[in-house]
């Protein structure tokens, strides 16, 4: 019995000696906080909150300012007007007070105005002769705006009367609604009356 106890004690002592001191075995799991080397160790696990992403602020700050747009209402207010208070659009265009684009696309190309006057003389009334300027009209419009829906291409085929114009048809489709006679009144179209 005694011998058995001695053997067991001896075995236990040997085992402890073989394993070495317990602190050295458990040290990685329980670092000694009192050890100054461990106290300065930073926590290396994944952070609970991601730090603020600075690059977002920088992106917003670096966004280019919107391109300057022409203040069209302000420009419009400065355009020359006739005695009726209507804007003189051809004068504005000729004097380059405005530079209207021919299309919505940036690379829209403008066709040269068609320089062709058409004289319209009422029968027996040469004093009411009208001179229609294609050049003026094609400075703003394309051919198919009027041809051939509103006016036939063939000269004399489309009858134009002041009654039609005053009723908002023929030339009155635009003139009186969105376009004024320039410079103003009868002689703007009936050139002979202004002579």
């Amino acid at each position: 019995m005694f011998a058995a106890l001695v053997l067991a004690s001896l075995a236990g002592a040997l085992l402890l000696a073989a394993c070495g001191p317990p602190p050295s075995l458990l040290e990685p799991l329980f670092p000694d906080a009192s050890d100054p080397a461990n106290a300065t160790k930073a926590y290396a696990g994944s952070p609970r909150r991601t730090p603020p992403r600075k690059e977002i602020e920088e992106t917003v700050a670096a966004a280019p300012p919107p391109p300057a747009r022409p203040d069209t209402p302000a420009i419009y207010a400065t355009l020359p007007r006739n005695d009726d208070g209507q804007v003189m659009w051809m004068q504005a265009l000729d004097e380059k007070l405005i530079a209207p684009k021919p299309g919505l696309a940036d690379d829209a190309k403008d066709d040269d105005p068609i320089d062709m006057d058409v004289e319209l003389v009422p029968k027996g009334q040469p004093e009411y002769k009208v001179v229609f300027s294609h050049k003026v009209h094609t400075s703003w419009l394309v051919c198919d705006a009027c041809h051939a829906g509103l006016f036939e291409m063939e000269k004399g085929k489309t009858v134009i009367t002041m009654d039609k114009i005053n009723a908002g048809a023929s030339c009155g489709t635009c003139h009186g609604k969105v376009a004024a006679p320039e410079p103003m009144a009868c002689p703007a179209c009936h050139k002979a009356m202004g002579a």
């Binding site: 299309g103 829209a108 403008d110 705006a145």
Partner: protein, 108 residues
């Protein structure tokens, strides 16, 4: 914000070009709204003159808008989708339609 604006727009602001009613200037087109009566927001006014400063007639006619009065249906929905007036009024080419700019078009 934009979503709310769009909802309001879809519900209330279906507008139809009503022809060249008398406005402040020659060429001002006052729209007729095809929506519920008694709205406090006035119908939109299209100023031809202000647009002519930047574009010739041919830029919009007849591609984007037929010339004939009343033939263009303009809705806030279409504008928000970049169609109709929204082709240009998108905040890049021209001011966009937001709650801050309502009164630039919807005015007496």
């Amino acid at each position: 914000m934009m979503r709310a604006a769009r909802s309001v727009a879809v519900m209330l602001l279906l507008a139809i070009a009503a022809g060249h009613a008398a406005g402040d200037e020659l060429g001002d087109v006052k729209f007729k709204r095809d929506g519920p009566a008694g709205m406090e927001i006035p119908p939109a006014v299209f100023p031809h003159g202000v647009h002519r400063v930047a574009y010739k007639c041919a830029a919009c006619h007849d591609g984007l808008f037929p010339m004939k009065a009343g033939s263009s249906k303009v809705t806030m929905d279409a504008i928000q989708e970049g169609k109709s007036c929204g082709t240009c009024h998108n905040g890049t080419l021209a001011f966009s339609s937001t709650f801050a700019t309502c009164s630039r078009c919807h005015r007496e």
